[in-house]
């Protein structure tokens, strides 16, 4: 009956959180990860990955702009959502969303991008006419001072903003993990490790996304991929992935060894309803395979072409694996009964408000935003160098 096996409490049969709530942590994870990659350049001075710096920031912003949309679409009364800002419930973790989001959007990302692009924005405001020129003029915020001293000050402030941005990125995504991890009613979610697992998987997915975007956009523009850059990204990706894998394994081993009252029920679910998305896609395809590929690239000196291809395969698999992880958390956490006596089924609709088509559109929307932003604020390293040279 209704895809139910065993006993579900009667109100549990239909799932409350759909694929849109899967997308939300996936998208915010990409934001946090992309920003961490950018911080490698700004704070940790890893010059090799500089070609991806601006692209990483714009990618983070594009995805961040889309992040609240799946939540809004999911709400029964989306027009009431501003109440979270005006009358937040202080004991609710979810009530912090608006503030965390706004802080990260305005105080970190937009501010850092503005500081980094300011010199070019001013130059374009003076040289471009028409609507685009007006847009650049507005983006200067009335400040046309691009003297050497002013730009030096921008650089210093930008460094501080990035420094603040790193814990902010952790808060942005750790908070998402906390939303799930703090629910004591749900043993699949309830774990203090959940925010940490979310943060590291976010870093892995965001770094992969920017690496793939950099390779794709460079190829589309007919330029040569900076192999030293992608080699360095792959190295950091590998190390971050090892930490992510270790923490997720710790969580898994702890659950298996502890084997509390929920273990039998969850174990059955993982081996039946979640077998494909969890065991096959998340663990085998999305974790072990890319981990082995990345380890191999660190140990064996392949030629450039093979290395690049291996990075593309590993990055793509990681993105699939992290999406599967979000799916398994959100959907998996609702497939079993809180009575621990039964299981239900998630029916993914196609063209409803929370259906597959909307989910696909929301996944692609950040790329549309990124395309527009890239047209207005080109992130390409060679153009940055040219612009600064002409500015001097």
């Amino acid at each position: 009956m209704n895809g139910v096996e065993g006993f579900m409490y009667p109100n549990e049969i239909g799932l409350q959180w759909s694929i849109l709530i899967v997308l939300y942590p996936y998208i915010t994870g990409l934001v946090a990860g992309a920003f961490i990659l950018a911080s490698l350049v700004r704070v940790f001075r890893v010059e090799a990955v500089r070609p991806t710096y601006r692209l990483a920031l714009l990618t983070a912003l594009s995805f961040l702009l889309v992040a609240p949309l799946p939540l809004q679409l999911h709400l029964g009364h989306p027009l009431r959502s501003p109440e979270m800002y005006f009358t937040p419930h202080s004991s609710s973790a979810m009530a912090m969303f608006g503030y965390v989001y706004l802080w990260y959007l305005m105080a970190v990302l937009v501010f850092e991008i503005w500081l980094d692009y300011r010199a070019e924005i001013v130059q374009k405001a003076q040289s471009t006419k028409g609507l685009l020129g007006l847009l650049y003029k507005v983006m200067t915020l009335g400040n046309f001072n691009i003297s050497h001293e002013a730009l030096e000050l921008d650089e210093k402030i930008g460094w501080v903003v990035t420094l603040i941005g790193i814990p902010s990125a952790f808060i942005l995504h750790g908070y998402v993990g906390f939303i799930f991890g703090s629910i004591k009613a749900n043993p699949w979610w309830n774990s203090p490790l959940m925010p940490v697992v979310f943060i590291f998987s976010a870093m892995v997915s965001g770094i992969s996304a920017v690496m793939l975007l950099y390779m794709a956009t460079t190829k589309i523009r007919g330029l040569k991929i900076d192999v030293a850059c992608v080699d360095t990204i792959a190295m950091y990706l590998f190390y971050t992935f090892i930490i992510d894998f270790a923490i997720e394994s710790l969580d898994l081993i702890h659950r298996i060894y502890e084997a509390d009252e929920s273990f039998r029920s969850l174990n059955f679910m993982v081996h039946t309803k979640l077998y494909i998305p969890h065991i096959v896609i998340q663990i085998m395809l999305g974790t072990l395979t890319p981990l082995i590929i990345l380890a191999t690239t660190q140990l064996v000196k392949f030629n450039e072409t093979i290395r690049k291809r291996l990075y593309v395969i590993a990055g793509s698999l990681i993105l699939i694996g992290v999406f599967a992880m979000r799916w398994n958390v959100v959907i998996g956490g609702q497939l079993f009964s809180k009575s621990l006596l039964g299981y239900t089924t998630y029916k993914l609709a196609l063209i409803t408000k929370e259906g597959l088509l909307v989910a696909i559109a929301l996944t692609l929307l950040p790329l549309v935003f990124l395309y527009v932003m890239v047209r207005i604020l080109p992130p390409w390293p060679e153009k940055q160098n040219n612009a600064l040279a002409s500015g001097d």
Binding site: Y9, P10, N11, Q16, G76, E83, P88, K338, L341
Partner: protein
């Protein structure tokens, strides 16, 4: 019609009786109700429940509960000696239509009515991002339908499966202990319609409420005590296999 003094005097007692009869069915006026004088809970005597489904039907009718959702429901447990911790549980349509006859003679059968536990430390009110769900000063967990976003976080946070999103109103919905009735001196629809008095509304702040004597003298438990929610629906003779 013209009446003389004698006719009026004869009719007055009849009018008084009629008026008294009318008032007997009228609940106490809400303005007389003092929130601080009450702390509502419910007592459920598992051994008295016969699984008739009267409570589910009464609740559904009283509160216009949408089809396929339940503010209260009844579960039937079948526990045999070999599977003490793995009971066979059914609740067809929440017990709305009663239960089919048992076919297996082994083990024991019993019914467990469920509803919102009106927890004193309720996880659902904790997680609500706008405070649309709240505990009243008299101990009832309520939802403000004009304020709820419909995010369903409270549904996820309830350990007992008592909440759902109302399919038409798109807000969280649950048992409110018939607040519109109990604040007027009536009992809940489910308690009123229980033929065996298996469910009884109780006021923990009322020293004369028989629940105090009952709690002192019986083996009473709450569901999932490990959740530490301060549940206020008390079960007498609750079997250890109940989830």
């Amino acid at each position: 019609m013209k009446m003389n003094r004698r006719q009026v005097l004869i009719l007055l007692p009849a009018a008084a009786i009629a008026w008294e009869s009318l008032m007997a069915g009228t609940p106490e006026e809400a303005p007389n109700y003092k929130l601080s004088d009450h702390w509502w809970s419910m007592l459920i005597d598992v051994s008295k429940c016969i699984g008739c489904g009267n409570c589910v039907r009464a609740c559904s009718q009283e509160n216009k509960v949408p089809e396929g959702h339940f503010r209260t429901w009844v579960e039937r447990y079948h526990v045999d000696d070999e599977h003490m911790t793995e009971p066979q549980v059914i609740s067809p349509n929440g017990g709305f239509d009663g239960f089919p006859a048992a076919t297996d003679d082994s083990g024991k059968y019993f019914f467990v009515p469920k509803l919102c536990n009106h927890c004193a430390d309720s996880p659902c009110t904790q997680v609500c991002p706008v405070g649309a769900t709240f505990v009243t000063p008299d101990g009832v967990v309520m939802v403000d339908r004009t304020y709820c976003l419909g995010c369903a976080y409270c549904v996820q946070a309830c350990p007992y499966g008592c909440r759902y999103i109302h399919p038409e109103l798109e807000v969280a919905d649950k048992c409110d202990l018939c607040y519109h009735r109990i604040t007027k001196g009536l009992t809940t629809a489910c308690c009123e319609n229980c033929p065996t008095a298996a469910r009884q509304l109780a006021d923990l702040k009322n020293p004369k409420d028989p629940i105090h004597a009952f709690l002192r003298t019986h083996n009473v438990q709450v569901l999932k005590p490990q959740m530490a929610t301060g549940a206020k629906v008390f079960y007498n003779d609750l079997d250890g296999s109940v989830h």
